[in-house]
Symmetry: C2
Subunit: 291 residues, 2 copies
Amino acid sequence: MKIIDGKKISNQIKKEIKIEVDQIIKNGGRIPHLAAVLVGSDGASLTYVGSKVRSCEQVGFNSTLVKLADDISEDSLLEKIQELNNDDEIDGFIVQLPLPRHINEEKILMAVNPSKDVDGFHPTNFGKMALNMKTFISATPYGIIELLKRYKINTSGKNTVVIGRSNIVGRPISILMSRKGNPGDSTVTLVHSRTINLESFTKKADIIISALGVPDFINSSMVKKGVIIIDVGITRVEDESQPKGYVIKGDVDFDSVKEKASYITPVPGGVGPMTIAMLLKNTLLSKSLKN
Amino acid sequence: MKIIDGKKISNQIKKEIKIEVDQIIKNGGRIPHLAAVLVGSDGASLTYVGSKVRSCEQVGFNSTLVKLADDISEDSLLEKIQELNNDDEIDGFIVQLPLPRHINEEKILMAVNPSKDVDGFHPTNFGKMALNMKTFISATPYGIIELLKRYKINTSGKNTVVIGRSNIVGRPISILMSRKGNPGDSTVTLVHSRTINLESFTKKADIIISALGVPDFINSSMVKKGVIIIDVGITRVEDESQPKGYVIKGDVDFDSVKEKASYITPVPGGVGPMTIAMLLKNTLLSKSLKN
């Protein structure tokens, strides 16, 4: 069994990005610039956004954190987004989710100019991805594709089962895995809450990509020998024996499946660290598309 | 075995649309208006477009056929599209495909204003469909969903196999069938040219939707008893005994599977007639979204 080391790969990608940024500076170009909009002061959101800003520093990007009050009106937030859309210094920006309840998330995401939507959440970018056109692919599915590519895992003709049909992971990765190309060209089955006899699908899978958010959901009895497992689940489980009071758990019972799997992503340290690296890659792409 | 009668259902939908149009006229409203752009004089394209125009007349829509020469420049075609985008009298329009080789199809489709893209081919509309937002769904997959709905076929939790991953049928119907809702909530496997052992998937399918374009590809040995078959294949096969010199064949060997299937769409007369009805429905939707 081989560990797919997302931490290592993400650091590698950041180094590659840093080299590109150094080159841009050397050539007298403008430094790539990512902005993040954070509404309110939710703890987890603060952590995520903070880590995005730090990663920008690591690779030499400029970054802007736009912090807005919890009770900002939808109209004011839309105005702020228009400012970012119109700011030529900014290559891409993200609106950290979730947003407060009084704000219509769909309306906000639709307001982001697709050419700056480095999260790849805008329908135009999602559609382009599905139709195999060049675009920003959301960070998490993009990270999964990148891991498969860097570990030279052949996905063509493989029986891939994606668990969970969310807009940000399950749905896009199910499309990416079945598009033409490698990674891709898989025979993909998308299973979800309405699936009957889920095990009958996972047991036949060559590759399982789980984005369910149920800790230890997948165990050894549900998979076949040699399976490749990409675990996208990240759930905090209370554990008083830990200094932080919790542990991070994936969807996969790692100890149970480790003897059967040929490759597996650990949690933490698998898909998680890839997401920020891919967000940075999208920002660099956005800049290059503008030139 | 029950025949899913697309001809009958499409006539029913046209009647329903006619009633809505009569109501609009009665209330002094503007009559819905569909335009079609035809470049060149390809025989099949002429037939399709002609039949779209005739259907407009049947339901009381206004229609405009924009016929352009084979050697029109890309720029002139783009200009024409801008005119249609800006014409407030036109609710929706389509650009009949294929286009001559010197024209970039992707560029043309991207130029259509998504709010008038009643074909649902623009990435913005495709993305909205995939993300479960209100939008224009392409006529063929939309027609399939409508047939399943009108025949009250329960798709929830069913094992659905979609054959073929084209942008206009396989990909979108695979998404629609696995979205939340009914029709929908299926466990969908998308099989394609790279799939290994395709039969192992079709044999377990409760529902098969085939959009491959290979006549008589699916026979009795590949399906299980009670299967529901939606045959999207339409291929002209030469047959000198026929007055036209050809017959239209589906992907499914009808005679072979008819004893095993619980429901089946015939070819012709199944999915085919639905597409124009759904195009008209999209045009009506476009008008209602403008009001």
